[in-house]
């Protein structure tokens, strides 16, 4: 008989190892960033040395590295990530607070489109394997995977927005404004899910227990839905973890094209601007989200396939 502690222990170990990973990410980011040439203040119209020194001193950039590192760790643990170097009226907490909900909302919309459409098409393809529907679905999937998102986003914007006027060209605020970016964002994962689902379901459908289910006289829908799908979904779940974390924190390209005020653009711009506090804050935030979602996926695994839970 397993005690409660015994049941929890594997999860605790999992959590601890993930936390250690997070700490590693935090540290690595700090040192990689410090190794980058340039600082937040050097640009074309260079500052006089004395002013440059005052600015560096004001932001504590002239302190020894261990002091800066300690200050940074403290800011991470107290979740008070400090002001942005570039956008001086904003704090990193504020940037995340205002940007994340936008990215997350768009991300959820895109995920729903990708998952529902992907599962539907994948299942259809698997059930009609070899037919022209299947070929069509495969062609669609290959095209979506090889079409880069900046092209697709720009393409949809040009035709659906500017040429035909069916949707707003860009900006954020209404449902209509979110449709083009959501589809641009969903295209790639949707294609991936379609292919994953198709392959996995085809394999499951050939299993012995499917024949058994049919032999018991279950209806076709019953067989595919309860016995086939549930098992075929497993590989999908492991793909969904990193995917959701990625999509929820926003995409640089799509947010730029459609002027979405999410978090995605900050990731890239903070590196280009050497906006140290924003860059580090966002990395930690992304790490946390990834950790949380991967944990959720682990739990989901156990629910879909109880054998996995027992094995750990």
């Amino acid at each position: 008989m397993l005690s409660l502690a015994g049941k929890i222990r594997p999860y605790l170990c999992l959590m601890l190892s993930r936390l250690a990973a997070l700490f590693l990410i935090v540290t690595l980011t700090f040192f990689l960033m410090k190794a980058l040439p340039g600082d937040p203040f050097n640009q074309e119209q260079a500052l006089p040395d004395q002013i440059h020194k005052i600015l560096r001193h004001h932001y504590g950039l002239d302190d020894p590295w261990h002091q800066q590192y300690a200050r940074y760790l403290k800011s991470v643990f107290s979740w008070n990530l400090g002001p942005s170097f570039r956008f001086q009226d904003r704090t990193v907490n504020q940037i995340i607070r205002e940007g994340f909900p936008v990215s997350a909302l768009l991300g959820i919309e895109a995920l729903l489109i990708a998952v529902s459409l992907g599962i539907f098409l994948g299942t259809l393809g698997a059930l009609r394997k070899g037919s022209w529907t299947d070929s069509l679905i495969l062609i669609f999937a290959s095209l979506s995977i090889s079409f880069p998102s900046f092209l697709l986003g720009s393409f949809l914007q040009y035709f659906f927005g500017l040429k035909w006027g069916l949707f707003p060209i860009a900006r954020w605020g209404t449902l209509m404004q979110s449709i083009l970016p959501a589809f641009s964002l969903a295209a790639l994962p949707c294609a991936f899910i379609t292919r994953l689902m198709r392959t996995s379901l085809i394999e499951v459908l050939q299993q012995d227990y499917m024949r058994t289910a049919r032999a018991k006289g279950l209806s076709e829908i019953n067989v595919v839905w309860f016995h086939g799908m549930r098992n075929a979904l497993l590989p999908l779940v492991s793909y969904l973890g990193p995917l959701s974390a990625n999509i929820l924190v926003g995409s640089f390209v799509i947010e730029k094209i459609y002027a979405i005020p999410g978090l995605g653009q900050w990731f890239v711009n903070s590196v280009l601007n050497r906006d140290y506090t924003v860059l580090m804050g966002l990395t930690v935030f992304y790490g946390l989200i990834l950790l949380f979602i991967v944990l959720c996926m682990d739990l989901l695994y156990c629910w879909i396939d109880p054998r996995i839970g027992r094995a750990t």
């Binding site: 640009q43 260079a46 040395d49 004395q50 600015l55 860009a170 839905w225 280009l272």
Partner: protein
């Protein structure tokens, strides 16, 4: 089909849920009001004029704030908050009489506000990137260096309406300097959550990385001259901004708040949509005058003269820039604006041979020459064009090295380059804004390692000269000294490219790179 029903159902719920109230298409302004919609590449880095570093947010500073002087729509400096200005006979003391004006919270704007603002900028602890713009004030540099107390700064409020400013030396461009955002006053209780300002517009609302809405400031002293009811600034990608302009959702796109995509310029020009404003800026190549082979004057001359600038502005940049044969733009009042002929290949070839003779090497023994530049679409196109020009004119293969801009500026500061692209945009309308760049080797904007005693002497002399005409003669001479030694190879004078709605009138586009919407209106 439970799962599918669930997914579809939740999708609809979500879509219904994310319908953010946006029924008022005009962003909270009434349909009948005149609202200008402008594209911006990013939000202003701050709303505090003391902390602004880049060119882009300067337009916003001129919306929100009013200083002692303002540049009017003809480019002339005129009184703004100052009702009258007088100066002593030696041009070292200025007395500003202030008019009655209010902050947006109703407080009067006083001389003390200016004193406090300028003192904070020069406080050794305050991170003001532009503090050096104040070094013409008496004791300003010493104050910033912490050598004398703040109270010694040459500015005082005699009474709430009288501001007295003392200068280190007669500064003929002082009133131009005072009209820049560097010298704008800040209310002591203004914070970024609640901005207290005194300009033609006030900030009504802002959404991070999305939009800024400005409304007409009814408390502005000259409010009857302001015609627009509001201004909406949308944060947009350059390409997206152009598309929104094409569909009529924007009234202004391109410079100075964003950039027109380089690829779109030719087609806009062809359709007669492209607008051009001259810029007080010069693009050039910097030579590192302490590194081989550009420690040789004739070599620098050869590289400078063999460029075909007309070809570059006509076929590469395409934005109606003017080719530059000097470093100070022609409309800055200097008499001589061209120091050499463009595309003078025979002279260049002669200088090149002379350089090789000086260095006692043959062409094949030349060290490898590398042109470094900050990666951008336009920079790479220019670099490729000049690479070809040097190859044709001198038969030299120049290697191109493009790098991320922060890395590039770091290399520049460490003088770790041979030949690099660069530019300078004036902060105020006076030739000294350009000439000062090369005044000393240690000047962080110089980076060419070039220094010349005669040049320093002339610039110092010009600072003490109070007769404007004589002073310009001295500055002319100084530019001559500089151009004789080619520390930089001038390429072209910048231009600002933009598109705007046809019926938008009264906008002042300063060649310093900002827009003044004070007098703007729609003629519809």
């Amino acid at each position: 089909m439970r799962l599918q029903t669930l997914i579809v159902g939740s999708l609809f719920l979500l879509l219904a849920g994310c319908k953010i109230s946006h029924s008022d298409v005009k962003d909270g302004f009434k349909e009948s009001e005149q609202v200008l919609r402008v594209a911006a590449a990013e939000e202003p880095t701050s709303f505090d004029p003391r902390l602004i570093r880049d060119l882009r947010p300067v337009t916003v500073m001129h919306l929100l704030y009013e200083g002692l002087m303002r540049i009017n729509s003809h480019g002339k400096t005129e009184n703004a908050l100052a009702e009258s200005v007088s100066h002593s006979s030696d041009f070292k003391t200025y007395i500003f009489k202030l008019r009655k004006a209010q902050w947006s919270n109703g407080d009067p704007v006083t001389a003390q506000d200016f004193v406090e603002t300028w003192r904070t900028v020069l406080d050794p602890k305050f991170p003001a990137p532009n503090a050096y713009q104040f070094y013409v004030l008496k004791n300003a540099k010493k104050v910033k260096e912490g050598k004398v107390p703040l109270e010694e700064l040459g500015v005082k409020a005699e009474d709430p309406a009288t501001l007295i400013v003392e200068l280190e030396s007669p500064t003929p461009y002082f009133l131009d300097l005072v009209s820049t955002h560097f010298y704008y006053p800040v209310h002591s209780q203004s914070t970024h959550e609640k901005i207290i300002s005194n300009g033609p517009f006030i900030l009504r609302s802002q959404k991070q990385n999305n939009e800024l809405l400005f409304a007409k400031n009814l408390k502005y002293w000259d409010a009857q001259e302001v015609h627009l009811d509001g201004i909406a600034l949308y944060v947009l990608d350059d390409q997206t901004a152009l598309r929104m302009y094409e569909s009529g959702e924007l009234d202004w796109a391109g410079s100075p708040m964003s950039t027109l995509p380089q690829d779109a310029i030719a087609s806009l020009r062809h359709r007669h949509k492209l607008m051009v404003a001259p810029a007080a800026g010069t693009h050039w190549f910097r030579f590192n005058t302490e590194k081989e082979p550009f420690n040789n004057l004739q070599m620098r001359k050869a590289f400078t003269l063999s460029l075909n600038r007309h070809h570059i502005v006509e076929f590469v940049t395409k934005g109606y820039q003017k080719s530059a044969e000097a470093i100070v733009p022609p409309n800055f009042g200097l008499t001589k604006n061209s120091y050499f002929d463009d595309n003078a290949i025979p002279t260049a070839w002669y200088a090149f041979q002379e350089a090789l003779e000086d260095m006692k090497i043959s062409k094949d023994d030349l060290p490898e020459i590398v042109l470094s530049y900050a990666a951008s679409d336009r920079n790479s196109k220019i670099a490729q064009a000049v690479q070809q020009q040097w190859k044709t004119a001198l038969g030299i293969d120049v290697k191109l090295e493009s790098m991320e801009s922060k890395v590039f500026f770091d290399r520049l500061a460490q003088k770790n380059f041979q030949l690099s692209s660069g530019s300078w945009y004036a902060d105020f309308r006076d030739p000294i804004s350009f000439l000062d760049v090369f005044k000393s080797k240690n000047n962080s904007t110089n980076n060419t390692q070039w220094e010349n005693e005669k040049y320093i002497e002339l610039l110092n002399k010009s600072n003490k000269e109070s007769d404007p005409l004589k002073r310009f003669h001295i500055l002319d001479e100084a530019q001559g000294v500089l151009m004789n030694e080619y520390p930089v190879a001038p390429l072209f004078f910048g231009s600002f490219n933009y598109v705007k709605r046809d019926d938008l009138l009264g906008v002042y586009f300063s060649d310093l790179g900002y827009l003044d919407f004070k007098h703007a209106f729609f003629s519809r």
